[in-house]
Subunit: 342 residues, 2 copies
């Protein structure tokens, strides 16, 4: 079954409103989820509605919360998220940065008492479309640890950077500090498949290829001490800098902290030299000499942009996803839009 | 043979001055190199003097160059390095950031026409000691590429983040976008040892365990597309943003570009909540449950701090390093200080 993304987004917003979200919170969260689906980041897509609905109903997320600037210097703000939906807090924070970077060249906002905000590139790319290089850092529930650990220590704390496009290519990196998302281990467990030995730890703290063992302990950081160090400094940049919570304290991402930075392209250099340099950089990647058997080399963000192009205006929904969405719709009294589906 | 670090630093500065560096350029570069040795980062230590001397003599680096602010907004500057020694440009840039972050909470400086600046943590930790979270990004000569590549595509572009200490622990991450430094492949080749298959590519673009093959092609990025993406966006943040050069254009790091950001701790939150949160974060790492056989878990930067403690005030120099340093001293007319050695 296929469903237009627009219909999916409208339905998702209605579901969130029914679960207690404000109109703006619901609209932005629905937009963030469906955008993830458009780009092939299905783990952050509409399947996440189940989590948001549960958290709105239990009070972990405050659907009526409104992010608020509680301290502000001309180019740096502290934003209290009041436990609102993360997409609303993050959008508010990045908008603040872009506005203040317009005249000042740079601006940053650190949030506290925020919540899960979906894919970090939702915010960095918003800045990129406003002529800024956007940087985003977030902490998250504990989800990774070094070899030998008997439980997760730090969050999978993502970093995202996106920049204004040239010739239709919008560079966008969005990476978690873990090797891969835990969702891939869950999937392997469901399918009864082994996982690579560098993904996760078993209950004894040693790397395991058994996904069920892995789910009983923790994911490994990407690139060993590099990923672990990245997770640590992202907690410093977010929870410590803003006086919010740090990842070891987080449960269901309640009180997550984020840092947003916008750098206005052309503020101290000029727009044309930016474009010329970026064009050279993109060409260096695309035109790099490679073996006949090698796939084309891509700029970060291109794979997702191509997926969005390939998926077009509608999404194929598999039976498991359909069942999940129908159940959510039923629970919230917003029937899944079968009529719009083809 | 052991030599006091102080004597090593004095000698290194004299060597650089003899090779054409200004007094300040020589002093900061010597300090950066010897600091790397103190912390066990020997690949960025005094052995690098050979490179700096060669580049000063050939004119790749302009020893009389002086970094200059060419554009400035209240919290963002463009700095022309005039091809001066990177340690001088980087220190100048980070000092600008710290001064301007004092009143504004945040400041950034992007450099162009800079050069190799050694370990990026030299600058981020300078900010940390001034009460700021310091972030540093640099591009570098091409040194990594995805599987299938027949040559290096992007620089090993490092990122460093350091933050003000609590209870003597100064968090400091400094990581290149490559799996490991190329120096480790060179070392394996010298010793006739195999390298792990995820470090580098052979001439056919496939991963190799033969270090000689690897030296004929390129290093792999850390964590695959993540490290490659990181290298790419660091080029965007440095060369593209400042209108300087991008890594595929760099030769001997002439014209390298860097971005420095300082975030003043306590500017919008408060110093005590920063310290409380950081203390919790450090404790979460140190006290994490781990298997009996697992070594203690460390905060990024702790390993280097412990090495500095263990090395104490003097350094053991092996025969190969001694031979190299004596040759440099002879070439520059500044005899290696055997008298100070024990």
């Amino acid at each position: 079954m296929t469903l237009p993304f627009d219909a999916l987004e409208t339905w998702a917003a209605e579901v969130l409103t029914a679960a207690g979200a404000s109109e703006r919170g619901a609209a932005l969260t629905a937009q963030a989820c469906v955008r993830a689906n458009r780009m092939g980041l299905d783990s952050h897509g509409v399947v996440y509605l189940e989590t948001y609905v549960r958290r709105l109903r239990s009070g972990v997320v405050d659907g009526r919360g409104e992010p608020e600037v509680v301290e502000a210097l001309p180019t740096l703000a502290l934003i209290d998220g009041h436990f609102a939906l993360g997409a609303q807090v993050g959008t508010f924070a990045m908008e603040w940065c872009c506005e203040h970077a317009e005249a000042n060249g740079i601006a940053a906002a650190v949030t506290k008492d925020s919540s899960h905000f979906g894919a970090a590139s939702f915010y960095s790319e918003r800045a990129a479309r406003r002529g800024c290089i956007g940087m985003v850092f977030s902490n998250a529930d504990p989800g990774l640890a070094p070899e030998g650990a008997l439980s997760a220590v730090l969050g999978t704390n993502p970093i995202a950077v996106a920049a204004p496009p040239v010739d239709g290519v919008l560079p966008s990196l969005d990476m978690a500090a873990s090797v891969v998302a835990q969702g891939r281990v869950t999937l392997a467990a469901k399918r009864g498949e082994a996982i690579p030995p560098d993904w996760a730890l078993g209950r004894d703290g040693r790397p395991t290829t058994d996904p069920v063992e892995a789910l009983g302990n923790t994911m490994l950081p990407a690139a060993g001490y590099k990923g672990f160090g990245l997770a640590f400094v992202i907690d410093v940049l977010t929870g410590c800098f803003g006086g919010g919570l740090v990842s070891p304290e987080l449960v269901e991402e309640r009180g997550a902290a984020q840092l947003f930075i916008a750098l206005k392209v052309g503020a101290v250099s000029n727009q044309r030299s930016y474009e010329r340099r970026l064009r050279e950089l993109v060409a260096a990647v695309h035109d790099a000499p490679r073996a006949e058997w090698a796939p084309p080399f891509l700029v970060p963000g291109e794979r997702e942009a191509r997926t969005a192009y390939d998926r077009g205006p509608a999404m194929d929904l598999d039976e498991a996803t359909l069942t999940l969405l129908r159940a959510i719709g039923e629970e919230c009294g917003v029937p899944f839009p079968v009529s719009a589906a083809g």
